[in-house]
Amino acid sequence: MKTVYVKEEVCIGCGLCEVYCRLEHSRSKDLIKSFKRESQQPMPLLRVERREPISFAVTCRHCAEPHCVYACITGALQRDRESGIVTVDGEKCIGCWTCILACPFGVIRQEKGKGKIAKCDLCLAKKIPACVDNCPNEALVYAEVQDETLS
């Protein structure tokens, strides 16, 4: 499988990856509308960590041994056997936040209004995730995972 990697040395912390992640996961897919008018404003599913002069985006690693999936008490989090993508079933998630405590990277978000988690889905329908596609510095790379232990 492929996932999103960072090149911290060329990340300038501009945050456009967060903007385009939000846009991609919005209802309207329109920049102005999605940020200003949508009642359920999506949140970025990745986050830029900044500590001058260091900055880098942290995305879900879609771990081969996903602690979040093992910790999920409702079965809402699953890792797809074929694609390796870790996704959350919004119908099943009850926002208990156990997965947040289990994630080594702190990348699972709370959608407090909905009382559910939100996480990176690698933009399921797209060939290249929106964050990677829109990074002006190519500081995000969509590349094959090494050492994969896919079943």
């Binding site: 990697y5 911290e8 080594p104 790379v141 090494q146």
Partner: protein
């Protein structure tokens, strides 16, 4: 029913987190091996913590299922649901069910879980007194309730407060009786307990600490009319929920010779003292990373992971249990709180770091320069990073203050904690990255 005999390569007793973890692991390794699950509960695997949602709003069973319908068929699992295991014979490799059926197995997993502790209170054990660990418990309470009901919940731990919140959402007036000096005294520290207690009181819940229930009083037709505390205080109520805790369900193994301490003793491969028998979850004493020893840690994630490990080993793929950590996440009445590992240091050999920012409280507990516990209240989104430092046994002395910083995140940790996981793997690089020597290893200054 006539006595009949079945034969399976793998037999799992228990159909919750541990049992399902084992099924999934076995099927990753061995598709054709015959596999059966026995459970005294009549339901397909459901999320046990969701019984609070069931009680609060009668969340239907379909929404409580831990795995989609068709799970057992897809994984070729024969189920014996609603069937109680009666007798285990290790020499014969058989399990007798109460129905009279007998199951032969080659590898067995004990994922029998825990059963609620009900102390010998005068007047307990009859109608109007409930426990709260299974869906049937939630159904029984649901049937018994009416809108005028008042409840006394004995025990201010996770189960007690889960049932308290659910009852509160149903309009029931609840009094919580906690024997120790504060609620949630196992999974939270004093400060976080106080925050939760204040929140519950504001929701209209009465909390009495440092007391136990001495007697349950009954009126006409044996109906509960109230409880009397050990100091003589009477509290009128129509139902009593006993939520003191769970103890391992050991009755099946007690006479088999399998080694038991407080729970079934297992090694790093989740194997018991019998080479063909494994155990996991609330019934097992498995390795705990924070404590550095085997102990009971009756929480869902450890049960799943232990079951998964056991499943691999049963199917011949040698897999070491990475160890569990007591992890708890709460969100009673909308306040988020999480804890992991050793929360209340037993002596002064531990170092405690804590900070408060507006509505956020953070505490990290260290021992010999390593994180062994955490408590986060309010903003909890980065708590998993700290929990992982427990898991990986990282020495944090050089950057420990960063752990409770308001803007804590991966970038406040030394480079080697995040870079290897995030950067492009060398083989995938189109052009070789010019990685500078890591000279700025000064996180947390």
């Amino acid at each position: 029913m006539v006595q009949s005999s079945h034969r399976f390569k793998y037999l799992i007793i228990g159909n919750s987190a541990g049992g399902i973890g084992a099924v999934e692991a076995i099927r990753e390794v061995d598709r054709p091996g015959t596999l059966a699950v026995v459970s005294d509960e009549p339901y397909p695997a459901y999320s046990r913590p969701l019984i609070a949602e069931y009680l609060a709003e009668r969340c239907p069973l379909e929404r409580m299922l831990f795995r989609p319908s068709g799970f057992y068929e897809r994984n070729k699992v024969v189920t014996f649901l609603g069937q109680k295991a009666a007798r285990l014979d290790l020499d014969e490799h058989t399990l007798a069910l109460e129905s009279g059926e007998e199951i032969r197995w080659q590898k067995l997993l004990l994922a029998t879980g825990g059963s609620p502790i009900v102390p010998p209170i005068k007047g307990a054990g009859r109608r109007g007194v409930f426990t709260f660990t299974t869906l049937d418990d939630a159904k029984a309470i649901d049937h018994y309730l009416d809108s005028q009901s008042r409840a006394v919940v004995i025990g201010g731990g996770l189960i007690g407060l889960s049932v308290t919140e659910a009852l509160c959402r149903r309009g029931v007036a609840v009094t919580v009786i906690e024997m120790k000096e504060r609620i949630l005294n196992v999974m939270l520290d004093e400060a976080a307990s106080a925050i939760e207690e204040e929140l519950l009181r504001r929701a209209g819940i009465r909390i009495i600490t440092g007391r136990t229930v001495a007697e349950i009083s009954r009126g006409a037709e044996d109906a509960v009319t109230g409880v009397t505390l050990d100091d003589g205080t009477p509290i009128p109520c129509e139902l009593v929920i006993v939520a003191i805790g769970v103890r391992p369900r050991l009755e099946l193994v007690a006479s088999t010779g399998i080694k038991i301490n407080r729970g079934v003793i297992v090694d790093h491969y989740m194997a018991t003292s019998h080479p063909d028998v494994y155990a996991c979850g609330d019934v097992a004493e498995a390795y705990d990373i924070a404590y550095g020893e085997c102990r009971l840690t009756p929480i869902w994630p450890n049960a799943y992971l232990g079951g998964r490990t056991a499943g691999f080993n049963m199917a011949g793929k040698m897999t070491k249990y990475p160890g569990g950590i007591a992890m708890n996440a709460l969100n009673y009445f909308g306040l988020d709180a999480v804890s992991a590992g050793i929360v209340n240091p037993p002596d002064d050999s531990y170092e405690v770091l804590s900070q408060r920012y507006d509505s956020t409280y953070r505490k990290v507990i260290l021992k010999k320069g390593q994180v062994v516990g955490l408590v986060f209240v309010g903003n909890i989104e980065k708590s998993g990073i700290i929990c992982n430092l427990i898991r990986d046994k990282i020495r944090v002395a050089d950057f420990k203050q960063a752990l409770v910083a308001e803007d804590f995140g991966l970038s406040l940790l030394p480079r080697e904690r995040w870079q290897p996981h995030l950067e492009v793997p060398p083989s995938a690089l189109v052009q070789a990255a010019e990685t500078e020597p890591a000279e700025e290893l000064v996180a947390g200054e």
